[in-house]
């Protein structure tokens, strides 16, 4: 069984991201509207969490860096991450049926070269494709997770043609 990721809204609370691990355990992150991240672990076969911790934004960033890998920790300090966070923008973009991207691969469209923005993930139905390669075909209805500077995101949206950010 592979890792499954599901992101859902919890209106009035924030966003819930559920990771179903290969061994059946589940990790749930609730990113609350006030910035706090709550982390729950539900062991396989159990119906309620056996572990809970609440992290503030700084703690969540530090732990995130550590989880990415120790080699990144040396080069990206939290203050730098703050700077990056201010510079970077992230947008979920739903591809419309008449979009220029429809049926074409990421490589074919030269998205990064032409807009400066990068597609870091694709949500297709219930399936999440993290870090899609240049051979990945974009389909109508795909939810693209795009990062870049604000102006890159704007060029991306222009290049995409028909899209929706209110999905």
């Amino acid at each position: 069984m592979s890792l499954k990721v599901r992101e859902t809204e919890l209106p009035g609370i924030g966003k819930k991201i559920l990771f179903k691990l290969k061994n059946g355990d589940e990790i749930t992150i609730v990113a609350r509207n006030i910035g706090v991240k709550d982390l729950y672990i539900i062991e396989s076969g159990k119906d309620e969490p056996s572990f809970f911790i609440s992290l503030d934004e700084e703690e969540a960033k530090e732990i995130g860096i550590a989880l990415i890998g120790a080699e990144y920790k040396a080069s990206i300090q939290p203050e730098k991450l703050d700077f990056i966070a201010k510079e970077l923008a992230m947008e979920w973009v739903k591809v419309g049926e008449k979009s220029t991207f429809c049926g074409k691969t990421i490589g074919e469209m030269q998205i990064r070269k032409k807009t400066g923005a990068t597609i870091v993930g694709i949500m297709r139905g219930d399936e999440f494709i993290p870090g899609p390669g240049p051979e990945e075909k974009i389909l109508a209805g795909d939810l693209l997770l795009v990062i870049g500077k604000m102006r890159n995101i704007k060029s991306f949206l222009d290049y995409c043609g028909e899209y929706s950010t209110r999905w």
Binding site: L10, P11, G12, G14, E48, P49, R166
Partner: protein, 386 residues
Amino acid sequence: MWGVFNKVVEISYLKSAVLFLLIFAFAYVLRRFPPVLPFILSGFVAKFFIPSDEITHLSLFDRSAVFILFFFIGLEFSFEKLRHMVNIWIPGFIEFLFCFLLPIPFFLKLGYEITSSTLLALLIYPTSSVIFVKLILDSKRAGFPETEFLIGLLIFQDIVSVIILSFVLPLHEYGEVDFTNAFYLIIKILLVFVIFVFLLKYLPFRLFDDIAESDSFIFFIWGIILFVGFLSERFGVLPALSTFLLGVLIPEKSKMYERILKEFSVFRELSIGLFFFFFTFKLDLDKFVIRSDVILLVVAIFVVSMITKIPPIYIGGRLSGLDRPQSLRGAFSFFVRGEFSVLVIDFVNDAVIKTAGTIYVFLSIIFGVIMFILAPSISRILRRIR
């Protein structure tokens, strides 16, 4: 002469200031109490010291609290979010059937006519989203598997309730329901929905990004909420419906949405406090009747509202893919009623229903919170018995 006039005004305004301090004192001292209960209690206590008719200038706070509260409910619990919540329509309809439609014939049997029976069913149908979300956060259960399902149900309930209320409450206010009144009301509500859909489709929200970044954005948003609320009141449409739809209108991925949610949440807290405070502060105790039929009605409402909640939530939970313990935990966590029930009581003229409804809201908050806390243990015990 001016000196005397000023003194009168000052005393009245001073009393208002004391009210705010009193609300704070109750909320602070009783901070371990169930959410919103300190506000309800402070309103009840305050009315013995300061008669509500002496503080007429606070009516703007009172009315705008309703507008802002329902604006925020619309903002967070929109149709758009409901559309993306998986498998919530069937459980929502099952719960609507059990908790709203089924109790109506029961109240008719008790001798209440159709409008009163519908109002009583509305009193017990919606769980309080304000209190429930607070309980979820306080008890650290946001990441529990059933929470997503329960929040989905809350959205369903809120949308259905606000629509039904917008029909039933004005009709109840007219006194006698006749065809002309009903026809005009339906036309007015349909018009509100047509305007809403038109704005949702054609209003270029990106134009508002600049406004949202302005320092004076607060004046814009306050002005719009009050304008929509009072305008709909003027035309006999329930302001809660219009301000709810106004909240729904604001696109989730917009600067306006982000700014309102991040910076104006303090007004949400203020409006929740004032809404529940004024509920008891404005109560006319002369219209309160404590008789055997009131007690019987309280017992009937309470029992029906609790019994009808468990099966639909359990069935709905199972249909949504939750396992038995999770569905049970959800069913026992969903008893607490609040803002919608208060809105119904505010409109009711019948002394018996008003008294019974007020007592019921008190009881349902206390009992609902206790059951919410006990729900995980109850679910574990029932699992062992099986």
